[in-house]
């Protein structure tokens, strides 16, 4: 047990010693992980807005309210016979209402004022190749049971096109900042090694193993990465409370917003990224200094 005590004391001393450089390292980790978390959450937001099912089907064939059961059956058979169709399933009013509730979960007034009878019935069609939408439309044109044929991928594609540019940009910036964060962490570790070079020389002389000598510096670097990650997560939660929560249900074209669940999903990613980058940076920084 006293070995852990030793490592803990050494880490605390080292973090205090280089307060300014440590602060710079931690803030850089924080900013890069904050950006990375933001990029991940933008993607989640897009998925929420388009609905889970929209990613699985390419075409929705909405039915007229007055379509008869025979017409519906006939249409279902017609769709299934089209060679470009991979799969088709029928969505009744009740299922449509469930999807509606999920999609508009932040707009309670709307959900409460609408019941399943207001929902359209539809066929959801999965295509062999999503580009075949015009073929399907041409084949089904004029069917008496059809109210509307919608290309579900169109909206998703537009949104993804816009957000993927945004996301790539943010992730690129986050990556560059993570590299400089690694450099800064490496630097604090190197300074700590330099400050203790006399002790290290004696430790080697009396037979301390290289790992025993390295571990306190490794922990120091990893703690910096961890603190940066924790602060980034706190910042993301603050953004949720300050900006997203007040907007819930107030923006017409955004039926639902990311919530605690989506943010929690990023927590392990951000913490692991921070700690791993810091560990690699610390080990690289020590490699040159701590040879036997």
């Amino acid at each position: 047990m006293h070995r852990f005590g030793y490592f803990f004391r050494e880490t605390a001393t080292a973090l205090r010693r280089n307060a300014l450089v440590t602060f710079a390292a931690i803030s850089t980790v924080f900013i890069s992980l904050f950006l990375l978390g933001g990029a991940l959450l933008v993607e989640r937001q897009v998925r929420l807005m388009t609905g889970e099912w929209a990613q699985k089907v390419e075409v929705s064939v909405f039915l007229r309210d007055d379509a008869s059961a025979e017409e519906i059956d006939a249409l279902g058979a017609r769709i299934a016979e089209i060679p470009e169709v991979q799969d088709v399933f029928f969505e009744n009013r009740e299922e449509a209402y469930q999807n509606f509730q999920e999609l508009f979960r932040d707009n309670r007034a709307l959900v409460e004022n609408v019941d399943s009878s207001a929902m359209p019935q539809s066929f959801r069609v999965k295509l062999e190749d999503p580009a075949d939408f015009p073929v399907i439309r041409a084949r089904l044109a004029g069917d008496p049971a059809i109210d509307e044929i919608r290309d579900e991928q169109a909206l998703l594609k537009k949104l993804l096109a816009v957000t993927s540019v945004l996301r790539t940009g943010v992730i690129a910036v986050a990556a560059i900042m993570l590299i400089s964060a690694a450099g800064l962490i490496g630097n604090t570790v190197r300074m700590a090694v330099f400050a203790r070079r006399k002790e290290i020389a004696i430790m080697k002389l009396v037979g301390a193993t290289n790992w025993f000598i390295r571990v306190p510096f490794l922990i120091e670097g990893m703690v910096e990465g961890l603190i940066g990650g924790v602060v980034a997560i706190l910042a993301i939660f603050s953004m949720k409370f300050l900006f997203i929560d007040p907007l819930r249900g107030r923006v017409a074209f955004v039926p639902s917003w990311i919530d605690t669940g989506e943010i929690l999903f990023t927590v392990p990613i951000l913490l692991l990224t921070g700690v791993l980058i810091a560990a690699v940076a610390s080990l690289l920084a020590m490699r040159r200094f701590l040879e036997v």
Binding site: I202, G207, F212, V292
Partner: protein
């Protein structure tokens, strides 16, 4: 205990520090390695500690060929070899007790062993009353005793001393030699590099003389030099 076979050390700038040196030291021996500055004494000590690699030849320490020892085993070699230097190498911000305890702490000895053994060894070197002093509060001779205590606290098989009296006045040097002699009498092999002729002459132990990197004399119960 220690055996070198034709070890040669040539530094990068082709300076020959040691050339074909064959020395065998049996368990429990006390050996002086003497010679002028640049004769290769310090290089010889560093090779035994594996702080440097020989250019050619083999070195056997405690039954192991250390010229071909994998790096991760080096710390375990050093736990069997205590070292004492001219400049003491004490940590100024640690007390006498902590300096000695440090050597046990960093090789993972448990606290109760440290708390028992450190006062014991410090009493042995005559510093039983100065456990809580800092190195700067001690005389040079006392500091060297702390450094000897640190080298010996883990009961190594071998004690290497590189000019341990180099910074000390003659009477203090005699005290340090008495201490090294006591340690040798516990069965520890002692190898001491020095150019202090008075000490070598007084001790009458085995003397290996190096000059220009070669062994020019190996004499049981010797003195510093024929001419001295």
């Amino acid at each position: 205990m220690i055996k070198t076979e034709r070890i040669t050390k040539i530094y990068k700038d082709s300076v020959v520090a040691l050339e074909d040196v064959n020395i065998e030291v049996r368990k429990g021996e006390f050996v002086f390695v003497v010679g002028p500055s640049g004769s290769g004494k310090s290089t010889f000590i560093r090779l035994l500690l594996k702080e440097e690699e020989p250019t050619r030849g083999s070195i056997w320490v405690a039954g192991k060929d250390i010229a071909h020892l994998s790096p991760w085993k080096v710390p375990y070699l050093r736990r069997n070899v205590g070292t004492v230097f001219q400049d003491f190498k004490l940590l100024p911000d640690k007390t006498v007790f902590e300096n000695v305890a440090f050597a046990l702490d960093v090789i993972g000895k448990p606290r109760n062993v440290i708390d028992r053994r450190v006062p014991e060894i410090l009493a042995l070197v005559g510093l039983g009353q100065k456990l809580n002093n800092y190195p700067e509060e001690l005389s040079g001779g006392e500091q060297q005793r702390v450094s000897i205590a640190r080298a010996f606290v883990n009961r190594p098989l071998i004690l290497l001393a590189d000019e341990p009296t180099g910074n000390l006045d003659p009477s203090t040097s005699v005290e340090i030699m008495k201490l090294l002699d006591r340690i040798n009498r516990t069965g520890t092999t002692v190898i001491m590099a020095t150019h202090d002729n008075a000490i070598v002459d007084a001790m009458r132990r085995r003397v290996v003389e190096l000059d220009g990197g070669q062994v020019v004399r190996d004499q049981a119960r010797g003195v510093y030099g024929y001419g001295a």
